[in-house]
């Protein structure tokens, strides 16, 4: 696979263009970004700066218009759709601003979802999902539906779901965007702990400077390009 010490995720001159003619939007104008194993990267920028588009490409949910995206040195554009799906399933975990849990579905079933697509038998799924929920502090709420949980609890369910397949990378898009400051702090403590104790690489988009403080590296986007990229201590 990749040479030792090489980047885990890497964008090379990536551009992304939406629409055509007068409606053309250049969301990304040649972005280079390397993310190494074990990093905790915060991506900041105003809306329209291209940070969310970059996240979608990092998450294999979208593809670059030009340039390359490499996961462990392998260009993603060469991979068939099913391999990308498998990559999303067991190498990447997603946490969204809107939680994106399945409604009218129990917390346990939501957490089990990635295991369903990994063909894990039902008993094993239940066992691992229970354990994951316990790790995010939700033991006992397995049967609760999302509408019976607070925002912070819903985001914990989403984090449990993202972690269930033990991914290398957690991609968090405004994970605290819908939460109050106290709950936000709890969620951020949880994420920092995962990065520190379990060595999970985290890439997080946020517009909140305080939230960005939890990260070890701060990348700022503006107008589809990277404005600055520096360790947090220097920020």
């Amino acid at each position: 696979m990749a040479e030792p010490g090489g980047p885990l995720l890497s964008l090379r001159s990536v551009t992304k263009v939406f629409g055509e003619g007068d409606a053309t939007v250049h969301a990304l104008r040649g972005v280079d970004l390397d993310i190494h194993p074990g990093e905790f990267v915060a991506i900041m920028g105003t809306s329209g700066s291209g940070k969310s588009t970059a996240m979608n490409i990092l998450g294999c949910l979208d593809v670059p218009s030009s340039g390359q995206y490499l996961v462990e040195g392998i260009p993603v554009e060469d991979l068939p759709a099913d391999v990308l799906a498998a990559l999303r399933n067991d190498r990447l975990g997603f946490v969204f601003q809107g939680f994106n849990l399945l409604p009218r579905t129990s917390a346990l079933a939501n957490v089990e979802l990635p295991l369903v697509y990994a063909d894990v038998p039902a008993r094993e799924r239940g066992r691992r999902a229970r354990q994951a929920l316990a790790e995010v502090g939700l033991a006992g709420r397995e049967d609760a539906h999302p509408n019976q949980l607070s925002g912070g609890q819903q985001q914990r369910v989403a984090i449990a779901r993202a972690l269930i397949n033990e991914p290398e990378v957690l991609l968090a898009d405004e994970p605290t965007g819908n939460l109050d400051s106290r709950t936000s702090a709890e969620i951020m403590t949880l994420l920092s702990g995962l990065n520190r104790d379990r060595g999970i690489t985290i890439v997080m988009v946020t517009h909140d400077v305080e939230i960005a403080e939890y990260a070890g590296r701060l990348v700022t986007f503006r107008d589809g390009g990277i404005l600055s990229d520096q360790p947090r201590s220097a920020a």
């Binding site: 979608n56 998450g59 949910l61 979208d62 759709a81 099913d82 799906a85 498998a86 990559l87 999303r88 399933n89 067991d90 997603f94 969204f96 994106n100 849990l101 399945l102 409604p103 009218r104 979802l113 990635p114 369903v116 697509y117 990994a118 063909d119 039902a122 779901r161 397949n165």
Partner: protein
């Protein structure tokens, strides 16, 4: 993804919208119920008609003037039969056990103040043996009645009830039959309505000789009813009668018969053709309602895919492959359709049971029809589920996740 997991998902999704699932599947329910009822009633009616026809006496043959291959009704130019033909058949056809003339027309019968238009049949004693008809009261026509052209008649149950009154014994009473006064000598056993709703007890029988002299004015015979010695000699009897009649009617070698001998097997086969045509007509109706049902399923599945776009996005984000999404929605459509099929099967079985009780048809539920209904409903689910499922599977993950 495993098929059991997929099926579980589909069932859970359908249970979340019970009313909608039920209404969606209604088209398939009705289609399948129609197929089942049609099959069941068709089989029942055929069994009934076949039973009725074999009740006529399966050894029975019928000879009528005219070519079998002519289009339309009996050929008018073909001559009728004569009493001499009947005697010749008795004499020269050993495979024929009974032969009787049968001339019918409608006639007015009067008793006192009451009168009725009925079917009058001029025939001979052997007719009762051929048809296996007995009397409830009195006796049937005899050879003596025929020889003497006696002014006697045997009447059906309906005639007795209408002209003499139910339960009255009319034997020995006088009745006017088309200007001729006849003595009632017997009442036939009631036979009820035929399959086609015809009252089989609304008739009067008199000796062929009396009928010829008093009613028609000539002794030509329109129909000859025959009975073979046994069932396995029907073909032999038929051949003997045909050869004899060709000779008597001077039909040359190579020329077509100007008369036709039919046996009951042909009639049963004809009935089969009639019910076959009816069955295929109803099958067409059932096919149309299944088509409509399938379109209903496709429609609601398309709505469901749109409603659940976000769910599809989430599933894609956590690693569902396109074929997992395809399978999920396809299985959902098939489960929905299969549910409709099973419900339709139950309703169809119940409906045909009720209908057969009401119409007095034997109740049968052909297992092939039940199996076919289930298979057809699965096929409907697949055919009409593929398009919405493909639509779901080809959603772009980002657009699906952003969908509000």
């Amino acid at each position: 993804m495993r098929i059991t997991t997929t099926t579980g998902l589909a069932v859970a999704a359908l249970l979340r919208a019970k009313m909608r699932s039920l209404l969606t599947t209604l088209g398939v329910v009705i289609g399948v119920a129609a197929v089942i009822i049609m099959q069941s009633m068709g089989t029942g009616a055929t069994a009934l008609v076949t039973g009725e026809l074999s009740g006529l006496g399966s050894n029975m043959l019928m000879m009528i003037p005219g070519s079998a291959h002519g289009m339309g009704g009996p050929n008018r130019s073909a001559p009728l039969f004569t009493p001499a033909d009947l005697e010749a058949i008795h004499r020269e056809c050993p495979a024929v056990r009974y032969a009787a003339s049968s001339n019918g027309r409608s006639a007015r019968v009067v008793v006192g103040e009451r009168n009725r238009s009925t079917n009058l049949l001029g025939t001979t004693a052997e007719y009762f043996d051929i048809r296996q008809w007995g009397t409830e009261l009195g006796r049937t026509l005899s050879d003596d009645d025929q020889r003497q052209a006696a002014k006697v008649c045997v009447i059906g149950e309906t005639i007795r009830n209408e002209l003499f009154g139910a339960g009255v014994d009319p034997v020995g009473a006088e009745m006017r039959v088309h200007e001729t006064s006849c003595r009632v000598i017997g009442v036939l056993e009631a036979k009820g309505a035929s399959t086609f709703g015809q009252d089989q007890d609304d008739l009067v029988l008199m000796p062929a000789s009396t009928f010829a002299r008093r009613i028609m004015g000539d002794d030509k015979i329109g129909v000859v009813m025959l009975s073979a010695v046994s069932e396995d000699r029907i073909d032999e009897a038929k051949a003997q009668v045909e050869s004899l009649m060709r000779q008597r009617r001077r039909i040359l070698e190579g020329e077509e018969d100007d008369f036709t001998v039919r046996d009951m097997r042909e009639l049963i086969a004809l009935m089969g053709t009639v019910t076959g045509v009816l069955t295929s007509l109803l099958a067409g109706v059932a096919a149309v309602s299944l088509l409509v049902g399938g379109i209903g399923i496709m429609n609601i599945m398309l709505v469901s895919v749109t409603e659940r776009t976000r769910e599809i996005g989430i599933r894609l984000a956590v690693g569902a492959r396109a074929r997992d999404i395809l399978a999920q929605f396809l299985v959902e459509a098939v489960v929905l359709s299969l549910l409709g099929g099973i419900l339709g099967l139950l309703i169809g079985a119940g409906g045909s049971y009720a209908a057969s009780r009401m119409l007095g048809i034997p109740f049968t539920l052909p297992p092939m029809a039940a199996l076919l209904a289930v298979i057809v409903s699965v096929v409907v689910g697949v055919v009409f589920g593929v398009f919405p499922a493909r639509k779901a599977a080809h959603l772009h993950p980002i657009e699906a996740l952003r969908f509000e």
